[in-house]
Symmetry: C2
Subunit: 622 residues, 2 copies
């Protein structure tokens, strides 16, 4: 399938699906037409033996087709006897799901290890990074196999390509180590041959490259366990808080592309060094990294000109990234370590969302769920195992604390929780600090509290002072003015509001605009799907902001559909979780890629009805 086909399919009514039943156990799964039986099983947590990971080389993924079409592949003809072929035996990695089919899976030879990651996802460990300890026979005049052949012959269940730098020193390594070596494999590449037995040590780093914050998790790939985690601010910050200011910087001065690229790479490199040090891992033992970031961050870190992302019609350079090395991201781990870069749906539904969806398992869940990642740009995905719709809503910077008078990022001193009664006001502040400003969740809390008490009417206007005094006698004094503008003082002296931490009428408008954009987005998706808000069985609030937001308040201001509060859950840093899954499982990685074909993108910016709908959503629900 060419990229053009992917695009055509992604924007059509969605792919055709078929039903597969796996025996024993009659486990029924519904999968896109044309995927392999092997992938279909793996994506649904059903294990099939394999050491090559579905590359068609180990010939271990034998299954028996009990009912349904099963043309033998050329590989089947080599792998099975004519009798076995007639009996329905096929290699699962080559058999395509083209119609409803029943398949029997023989008992597993090896019990696979698993780890829990993402939104409660149980992932069978099958990392791209493999190690094999080998004790090889010495060559002789009777056995002149090349050094590379000698190593590859001992790994005969895989068909590997060998990196040139491995060949440069292979002869010396083999002879110095007395032909006792460990082969380091990433996917289908032999990236290193190490002296002795190092098979117990293999690590990866999952990066969540955010516009603001960058998180790195060092993973032990043998066990799936996180060894160390760290997060820092993206060093690109001086170029602006959001993606648009950073794209603009490259348009003003082309040299800024190199600068921004270097700063992103420097951020990743510093994090990698930190997590390796904390985890007691030699950076040379890190053989793969995974990166989830929005389209702009991903373009910038790879040195790809982001200009077309920043202006209509918002065009990415690419949806899928070519094979890159960790070194291409500036990360100083093993020099031939690979990098998995998450693909993007669109300029404003990036690789972080692909990773987040993978972690959420939305594409494999029969429940209809709504995924909302709230930020300057808000990404929204609606759907279930049958179909998925995605869009991006321009929420603006309110939730990041920008464009809010006393706004700030969720750092020390930020008010993150605001609780109000008619007589009292309680604040919870991040860190051991005096309140210095208001972060996104505090903003939502404050507005929700004011709406609940009636101090803010449903149109978003602060009520007159007399009305406030009636409704909330203990808080009315906080309602004052700075110049012409009405404000509500959260911390400090209401008599000197300019030196207090306050919420202004304009701040409230900013929040209304932001939530209206988001609500318009999911309303349009619901309409496209022919569903009502009540049909949504679960809302996943994603991203670091989502973790802080109170589900009850999100419902109250209309940021998410009006549902029982238990149906709204904070999913945490799903982008980072998706990146971890890609490191732990080749199948999950493939599933992430497959999402590009399964999700239909709905563009909002060219809809004639967008503004009318937006205005409809400005009010706070009654």
């Amino acid at each position: 399938m060419t990229a053009a086909n992917v695009h055509a399919e992604a924007t059509s009514a969605g792919p055709v699906r078929v039903d597969l039943v796996f025996e024993p156990g009659a486990r029924r799964v519904r999968v896109p037409h044309g995927v392999t039986m092997f992938d279909a099983a793996s994506w649904n947590g059903i294990a099939i033996d394999s050491t090559c990971g579905g590359h068609g080389t180990c010939k271990k993924c034998k299954v028996k087709v009990l009912d349904g079409p099963a043309p033998p592949s050329p590989l089947d003809i080599r792998a099975f006897t004519p009798e076995e072929l007639r009996g329905g035996w096929r290699l699962a990695c080559r058999a395509l799901a083209t119609a409803d089919t029943t398949v029997e899976i023989p008992p597993l030879v090896t019990r696979p290890k698993a780890a829990t990651v993402g939104v409660g996802r149980q992932v069978i460990l099958r990392p791209a990074v493999q190690k094999r300890y080998l004790e090889l026979a010495e060559p002789s005049l009777r056995d002149q196999a090349t050094d590379a052949e000698r190593v590859l012959a001992a790994i005969d269940d895989m068909e590997l390509r060998v990196d040139l730098p491995v060949l440069r020193t292979l002869g010396r390594v083999l002879r110095a180590a007395d032909y006792k070596v460990t082969a380091v494999i990433v996917d289908d590449a032999l990236i290193a041959v190490e002296p002795g037995d190092t098979s117990g040590r293999r690590f990866g780093i999952a990066f969540d490259l955010g516009t603001t914050t960058v998180v790195a998790t060092l993973l032990d790939l043998s066990t799936g366990t996180p060894v160390a985690v760290d997060s820092v601010l993206n060093a690109q910050q001086p170029f602006g808080a959001d993606v648009i200011t950073r794209i603009s910087a490259t348009m003003l001065d082309p040299a800024n592309l190199d600068r921004l690229s270097a700063l992103a790479q420097q951020t990743l490199a510093e994090l990698a060094a930190t997590v390796c040090e904390r985890g007691g891992v030699d950076p040379a033992e890190v053989y793969e990294v995974a990166l989830a970031g929005n389209a702009t961050m991903t373009h910038l870190v790879l040195g790809i000109d982001p200009e077309p992302l920043g202006v209509a019609p918002f065009i990415m350079s690419t949806r899928l990234y070519p094979e890159v090395l960790a070194a291409d991201l500036g990360v100083g781990v093993h020099p031939r370590a690979r990098a998995v870069v998450f693909p993007a749906f669109g300029a404003y539904v990036g690789g972080d969302i692909t990773a987040g969806l993978l972690a959420s398992g939305m594409d494999r869940d029969s429940r209809t769920r709504l995924f909302v990642d709230i930020g300057t740009n808000c990404e929204i995905v609606l759907g279930n195992a049958e179909w998925l719709l995605a869009t991006a809503a321009p929420a603006g910077p309110a939730f990041e604390g920008a464009a809010i008078r006393c706004g700030m990022r969720a750092a020390d001193g930020a008010i993150e929780v605001v609780s109000m009664t008619p007589d009292t006001l309680d604040l919870k502040v991040i860190g051991d600090a005096a309140p210095a400003g208001l972060c996104g969740s505090g903003l939502v809390d404050a507005v929700t509290g004011l709406v609940r008490l009636g101090l803010l009417d449903s149109s978003g206007r602060l009520v007159p002072a007399e009305r406030a005094a009636q409704l909330a006698p203990g808080l009315a004094a906080r309602l004052t003015r700075i110049g012409e503008e009405r404000v509500f003082v959260l911390h400090g002296d209401p008599a000197d509001p300019a030196h207090s931490v306050y919420l202004s009428q304009r701040d409230i408008r900013e929040l209304q605009f932001a939530k209206a954009a988001i609500a318009t987005g999911w309303h349009i998706l619901l309409e496209e799907a022919g569903l009502a808000a009540g049909d949504v069985q679960q809302v996943l609030l994603a991203g670091s902001f989502g973790s802080y937001l109170s589900p009850a308040n999100a419902i109250r201001i209309g940021l998410v559909p009006k549902l029982p509060v238990l149906r709204v859950v904070s999913a945490g840093n799903v982008a980072g979780e998706g990146a971890k899954m890609a490191l732990l499982s080749l199948r999950e990685r493939a599933a992430g890629l497959a999402l590009l074909e399964e999700v239909r993108y709905v563009e909002l910016s060219d809809r004639a009805d967008f503004n009318d709908r937006f205005v409809d959503q400005l009010a706070f629900p009654g």
Copy 2:
């Protein structure tokens, strides 16, 4: 097939073969079991439509299986209707030759261009380097395909991967060029997108990297025409004349590996610059290079430690090379130009021989032929389209002029032809210079002349002076002594032989050793094949030395089998021709690779009977 299988097969009795008949025309070909119909046809000069070159993406190589097994591949099921499938229609690039089969090829939609290269080989032009001029639609909110998808969708007959550096600037290039661009493709990689229409300009450079001499040919890949040729001495010369001295240098001082690698790369880079300048070609218009060299030269130019090649049991790092760039060879052409590096059969039957065999077409010719590349190491291949046997004979440096008292390389001043009668001696000297020494062909001529006149007996001893005066009165005076050793003066004063150009008794012994080693090699191959010398239908003398050698004299001293002289032909620089073929045709390139599976290597150094046989071959034939 893994490398281990290749090795096992290469050292077994040889692969199984099947017969294919192509209609119309009932063209019968015999090919290795398991190759595709597409390759089988192409290798035999039978054209089948294709734009992707057999990658399974263009779906144009439709053929109809008239008789024989034809399980449909998964791709067939997508490419054909059930009715067509029942009718026997298959994609030739996916149909495997597993038994005798008759196949119908529909009339060609496009008539392929061809060029004559190699040993009279007609090669259908299908270079890996392709250019496509594209006029693309501008993106809009209704058409948000990425820049990469936009380009790839316009090349929908191929499934391409995109180099990261192309993505870095793609957005800018497309917009600056008003979406009128030329895509540059090498094999399955999009390596560049150039503004405007540059489709008429695509070039490649074929390198023959010899231990002594390095040759570069700049080829116009659109026409197959050589644009410029140049040759220079290998800049590694100061490290020694032969491969063993250069390997030894890396063993004495590991830093010498980097030095030798840099010198080889510098040699290639200088040649590339020269041929581009002479041909009026911008180096950035060279998108692919091909390199044929012996195993040591190939290891060194790629920076691979050659030590195991130099000591028993003579182990290569690898037979096949990974994908490399021209930049990995130090060649400053297009920065993402690919390099094709010819694979080697063994430590002493290198990529130069693979290329030479490709150029000779031995693997596709029903005649039994003997290929002899004469040098310090002499490579010998015997066989036909059914089977091929190869070996390497340690001839020593006699033919390079080294170890010969007055020996020299075939440069200005070298005596290259010696003609004798009992009374006269005529010399032909290279260049406009006085005779300064004797090169390989002159050495063979001189020895042959002396044998023919009887001045040298069949055991290789110069006859006594009295006998010489009877047999060749005009030459007897030239037979004199330097110290204890008898010499024959070729040029200068016989009274002062130490200052003349002469041939010594020990020089004659060196030549005897060299020719005995070679003759032992082909005798053993003939015996392995169960053939007699008279069964050889043609002898191909390869390499630059082979071009200078007189076939009649090669027969007379027993360097090649005693055959009618017209059956011994000089094939010229076949390694360079093979490199050109690899640039001009993807199918020929694949055929070169397939040779590794078709040739069985016979190791001489562990044969108990080698020394006895060698002694048998020392004498000159009566």
